[in-house]
Amino acid sequence: MVDIPYEGIAGTPPAEVPDVELYHPRSWWTRYVFSQDAKVIAIQYSLTASAIGLVALVLSWLMRLQLGFPGTFSFIDANQYLQFITMHGMIMVIYLLTALFLGGFGNYLIPLMVGARDMVFPYVNMLSYWVYLLAVLVLASTFFVPGGPTGAGWTLYPPQAILSGTPGQDWGIILMMSSLILFIIGFTMGGLNYVVTVLQARTRGMTLMRLPLTVWGIFTATVMALLAFPALFVASVMLLLDRLLGTSFFMPSLVEMGQQSKYGGGSPLLFQHLFWFFGHPEVYIVALPAFGIVSDLISTHARKNIFGYRMMVWAIVAIGALSFVVWAHHMYVSGMFPQFGYFFATTTLIIAIPTAIKVYNWVLTLWRGDIHLRVPMLFALGFIITFVNGGLTGLFLGNVVVDVPLSDTMFVVAHFHMVMGVAPIMVVLGAIYHWYPKVTGRMYNDALGKFHFWVTFLGAYLIFFPMHYLGLLGVPRRYFELGDTSFIPSSAHSLNAFISVVALTVGFSQMVFLFNLAWSLFKGEASGGNPWRATTLEWQTPETPPGHGNWGKELPVVYRWAYDYSVPGAEEDFIPQNQPPRGTHVVQGAAS
């Protein structure tokens, strides 16, 4: 008899968990609403994030209508335009992407992928969602309060954010800060869960270096978020005090609309440092889960192990660490100490190296693979293109002196949409198609999925690639109208109109996606438990969709890494992580 590896390592959970520990729901309410099951919480997070994300999508249409056809739509004025861009940005970055990757995918996948029954603190996990929902409702309420939502830009820079020249100075900014504070409280409750679950609740045999990269990405991003969000928390509290109590953390002596203000002694730059100390890691908080997930999509659908797994793990960790020392590259033209430029340009460009390694390893995984061009794989390919494009333009903006002419132009808008808008959304969409059969037990409609991919990918590329050139020309961002400006030719206005038409098309094509998800829920073919013939544990559950507790009576035991695809000599082209090596004699329930 061959020994089962890693059996009996201290700290591994017992194979069987007594019923009482699982907090089984006792009623409809505790099953579907106040549920403590991470999978239900994941779906609640995902639906809420998608709902508020749709609001942000509609806002982007309104912005594009104004930019593409200035003066045509009388129902959009300059104040509303600023409110639209602010809410669009804040919702997309924090309330959609962060919540979806960590609260949605994190909750669903972490316990399943590490072989746990649930998150380690289910009650706190449930609270996390409800506080998040409250944060979303507070944010959404700003559309209905006097003065409307804040129009300070998603960066909320003081003094402007809390002075009367900015829309939403009354209620909007106060509720925005309150909502952010709530979001961070809710996230912290969820985030501690994800970290502790990965560290403490992995099943027998699941060493850290056997974790799927999805878990590595979400885990590292969560650790980063736990360290980065406090900076935003502090900034939000201080700005709220400046606004409500008349303190001057960020407010120097200034004149407000011709009148001497009561403020004095504060520093606007301090806010920017705090904001970006959070804000730059935030980019990677969104990117790292995408990196992890896309690695697994590529490996599964190319039937090949991810190339250079160890390097991929270290690259994730290195990017996570480095991303805490690059924040001031958002502030090259802020008026900060000029010598900072050398340091932050250097650290920023160094990040390109581990990031490039990840890209190389994704495409090298395709080399001599057996590439199934299913919808999730198509989205993964779309991710690589948009991410490479957006990552490379980051080398322009990170290189301090190159940033000087390009900052605050449409080049920046195009860059960050490509790299942290389109690219992660490609992964989100690919991942939804990929795990849809596991979550629902049914297959999506393939033709609709492919249509959705091509319109979204090509459309998004047509929106954001030419936009860089508007920025190169010098077209500034956050402009309600370009007006009569000598250096902007009329062809630039035509390009803006073109971009707007494509943006509306791509936006509406998302309805096809939503229809596909809804329709397939009832009419989709039964998918079976492991339609992609994948190796990771979530595909090996006894039930599909997995029941509460995930694993039936016994936890799975892990014998191998997550990427045993096309192993020479094996009968099938995949070997699940919980399949014992040949010749191993497994005694059922031996470890309990």
């Binding site: 829309p167 609309m257 033209v333 250097t346 001599r368 390919l381 002419p405 390009l495």
Partner: protein
């Protein structure tokens, strides 16, 4: 293989767009062509990587897409290859960073012979100030701002009296003369942005920021605000005119000094306090 072809076309189309697009940077008007060169270096390096990665990916999709009976290789890692790719990337990054840092050094090192000009931002207009005959700008403070002193100059400072103050007018600069542009705001963040200058910098209340340029061609240029400053951000405009020496001085002669713009009694008081001048 349609998918591979489309992926390849995305790369080729991007390059063609880059070459034939009518949208490119404005003709430069200052000494910062170095910045344009650095951008060009960056375009070459990143463009090469972009095309190489996507072409490789498209080839893989074309060559290794699923067919009946195909089986993937088993190839967990290749240390040597990963090492070489990392080193190559490092060299590429250094090739962009090094010239960038050299130019940044020039950008933050103001030449000693640069004359000072002040730009002040407020919601939503620009004001300008030039040193008078004494060649020095007087001190200023936000707390001094009043309807008869919109730039908040210090009435007790003799250097301020002869400063040329331009309210709601255009700024003129002299061709070929290095100028340090001092930037100040009295309310919120602004950013003095002239695309043809390449240089820009935020204006922060409570601080004085700066950049420097040497104008290299005459002309009239639009000034925009590049840092969101509230509802009328997009309407915060002015013009900068770069003149030959003779035209510049002719223009300068017509401008009013702070003392000339001030009510008579305050000027007398200042002269008295500073010992007369």
């Amino acid at each position: 293989m349609a998918v591979a072809l489309i992926l390849l076309l995305v790369a080729i189309g991007s390059v063609l767009f880059h070459i034939y697009s009518p949208w490119w940077w404005t003709p430069i008007a200052t000494n910062w062509a170095y910045i344009d060169h650095t951008i060009n270096i960056t375009f070459w390096i990143t463009g090469f990587v972009f095309v190489a990665v996507i072409a490789f990916m498209a080839y893989c999709v074309f060559r290794f897409h699923h067919k009946e009976g195909r089986r993937a290789d088993y190839n967990p890692e290749n240390k040597k290859l990963e090492w070489w790719l990392s080193v190559g990337t490092g060299i590429g990054v250094a090739a962009m960073l090094a010239p960038g840092l050299v130019v940044w050094h020039q950008f933050v090192t103001v030449p000693a012979d640069a004359t000072e000009v002040e730009v002040m931002g407020q919601q939503w207009q620009w004001s300008f100030r030039l040193p008078g005959k004494d060649g020095r700008l007087g001190t200023s403070d936000v707390r001094n701002i009043a309807s008869d002193n919109p730039m908040g100059l210090n009435r007790d400072d003799p250097h301020a009296q002869d400063d040329v103050v331009i309210e709601n007018g255009d700024l003129h600069l002299q061709l070929g003369k290095p100028v340090k542009v001092l930037l100040r705001s009295v309310d919120v963040l602004h950013d003095f942005y002239v695309p043809e200058f390449r240089a820009k910098m935020d204006m922060v209340p409570g601080m004085v920021t700066y950049f420097w340029i040497t104008p290299i061609r005459t002309g009239t240029f639009d000034v925009l605000c590049a840092e969101l400053c509230g509802a009328a951000h997009y309407q915060m405009r002015a013009k900068v005119i770069i003149d030959e020496e003779r035209e510049y001085h002719a223009w300068l002669e017509q401008q009013k000094t702070f003392a000339e713009l001030s009510p008579a009694n305050t000027v007398v008081k200042a002269r008295f306090q500073s010992g007369g001048k």
